[in-house]
Symmetry: C2
Subunit: 333 residues, 2 copies
């Protein structure tokens, strides 16, 4: 069931078979049909390995994400897969976890599979220090690296991100306009986009002549129940706040549970804003006002950019997309 079998049965040479396989126009129509028929008949499928050996590519893109069970990432992976396929590319997915060592290992693995490019989904792939990102920039020497929601200024690294700074800045402003004076900011990660959001929060506080207070910027565990407990503890210690801006919907859900526990009514006593517009934000009652970072657009843009890069075009290495606030019931907007 290889190209030789086909050539023999069709009474032509393997070169001709190869030509019809690759849509080469230099084949007469009768010959092409004859070959095509034989292929159908014996159920021939070209061997990807042999093809890859010569071309040194498998027409495959590697996708890395920290955890595909994170709703935001899962969504992104889905869109990426779908659209890559539409562009004729297959994809390899790796769920790396959040450990740097593993990220490096998986990236190496993808390189060894000879993927044509790698897409890093989520800012968790960008570390704080240049040294820790070296494995990424090194990989960029051989193939294009696409980053979703993170920024790394380097040759052959292309980033698509949403303006997290601006989104948090804007929503914090709106809360302040409504006389909320003690706005609690919740976050889990100090990744690139995590820092952007935090910085948006701080800027807004400062711009409104309020004081940036360390105790109002809370690092939370990555778990609803534990975060709720943490908030209760802080509240019992005397910390007071009339609004919560969360860097992820999960944390907003935790804030909802805290409010219930503390007997606060939402949004009257406590306004809550989530992030990502994930399904979680519409599961609660009241439903959570959240920032939509347009996963789909983010993914589409990334793939468009990638295709242009693979076609050898010159492409800007940073594209920024704006966010939308989805107003639901946990704010008075």
């Amino acid at each position: 069931m290889n190209i030789y079998d086909v050539s023999e049965k069709a009474g032509v040479s393997i070169a001709t078979v190869s030509r019809v396989l690759n849509g080469n126009p230099n084949v007469s129509e009768p010959t092409r049909q004859k070959v095509l028929n034989v292929m159908k008949e014996i159920g021939y499928t070209p061997n990807v390995f042999a093809r890859g050996l010569g071309l040194n590519t498998m027409h495959t893109i590697g996708i890395m994400c920290a955890d595909s069970s994170d709703p935001f990432l899962a969504n992104a992976v889905y869109y990426l897969e779908q659209n890559l396929r539409k562009c004729g590319y297959d994809s390899f997915l790796c769920c790396t976890g959040y450990d740097l060592i593993n990220k490096q290992k998986y990236l190496q693995l993808l390189l060894s599979k000879r993927v044509d490019a790698i897409i890093l989904v989520g800012s968790s792939f960008l570390e704080a220090t240049k040294k820790d990102n070296a494995y990424i920039t090194a990989a960029a020497d051989s193939i294009p690296i696409m980053v979703i929601n993170g920024y790394l200024n380097h040759q052959n690294v292309f980033c698509t991100l949403c303006d997290d700074y601006q989104a948090v800045y804007d929503v914090t402003n709106r809360l302040i306009e409504q006389e909320r004076k003690n706005i609690l900011y919740l976050y889990t990660s100090r990744s690139y986009s995590g820092l952007q959001k935090l910085s948006g929060y701080k800027s807004s506080i400062a711009a409104n002549d309020l004081t940036i207070r360390d105790e109002l910027m809370l690092t939370c565990p990555n778990d609803i129940g534990q975060t709720k407990e943490l908030l209760i503890e802080q509240w019992n210690n005397g910390l007071r706040f009339d609004a919560v801006v969360a860097s992820e919907d999960q944390l907003a859900v935790a804030a909802m549970k805290f409010a219930k526990h503390a007997g606060l009514s939402v949004p009257e006593d406590l306004a809550i804003v989530g992030y990502n517009n994930s399904i979680l934000s519409s599961c609660t009652d009241p439903e959570i006002t959240t920032i939509d970072n347009h996963v789909e657009t983010l993914c589409m843009t990334t793939i468009n950019t990638l295709m242009r890069v693979l076609d050898g075009n010159d492409v800007p290495n940073k594209t920024t997309i704006s966010n939308d606030l989805v107003v639901r019931e946990t704010t008075n907007f």
Copy 2:
């Protein structure tokens, strides 16, 4: 940067290099070290295509799931990936959507990539008619097919599933014990496991000498908001029920929203049971009692089975795992 470069620099033949590469014991220790050093030095990585050409395998497992943004599936994919990697296998993920044509296309694609086995995640891959499953059984002629949460009795198809029938049967019984007489069953899909659950519901109703009523088994859209509307509509049409058993947590969330709208208190007026123990079930207030189908165990078992199959062992083609009821706040259990 190929095997020849290494052999030349190390002053040995390519055969020897290949041997150290594959851990063949017939190499003297000094020679092995010499070769190993050269490989480090010039940063040699074996070419997967060439290797695949010879061995006709890439040590890769194909994973198919309908939609990686479904929390249950996403979780499963994550566990599968992790554990396959631990067993030294890489994996290809395909998100196929729910359309039969696409499922067939993607399966073909995986076959053409020469994967060593395919894992179908979720019962949505098993159609009602034998004819529509033919593409799966055909694939099983060439490589093992693993099915998670579905059952297909065929050579070289291995299924791991949880006892959905029993779980729904048991929980319905418990509701009836508590004098709930009008139990509404919500579902979206008529897949294998969907039918199992439905059948568990019916059996319980019958076993308790109640009447199975068609209007109490409701097919819902795959969307929280729309399902809520559907329930409101039914309620306004006079349909009455004092308990809801949902085939998925999403539907249970919709039932919560309906209860709120109808002014019913949960669980007093309306008991609600979800399915999957997904994060959604702990987002609501009160939190949802749900059936945990042990995704992790399901995945681990699948992979263990697969490894035994690939090792040429004789393995039973069906493994069943029991479910647990996670009692939260939407029932009086």
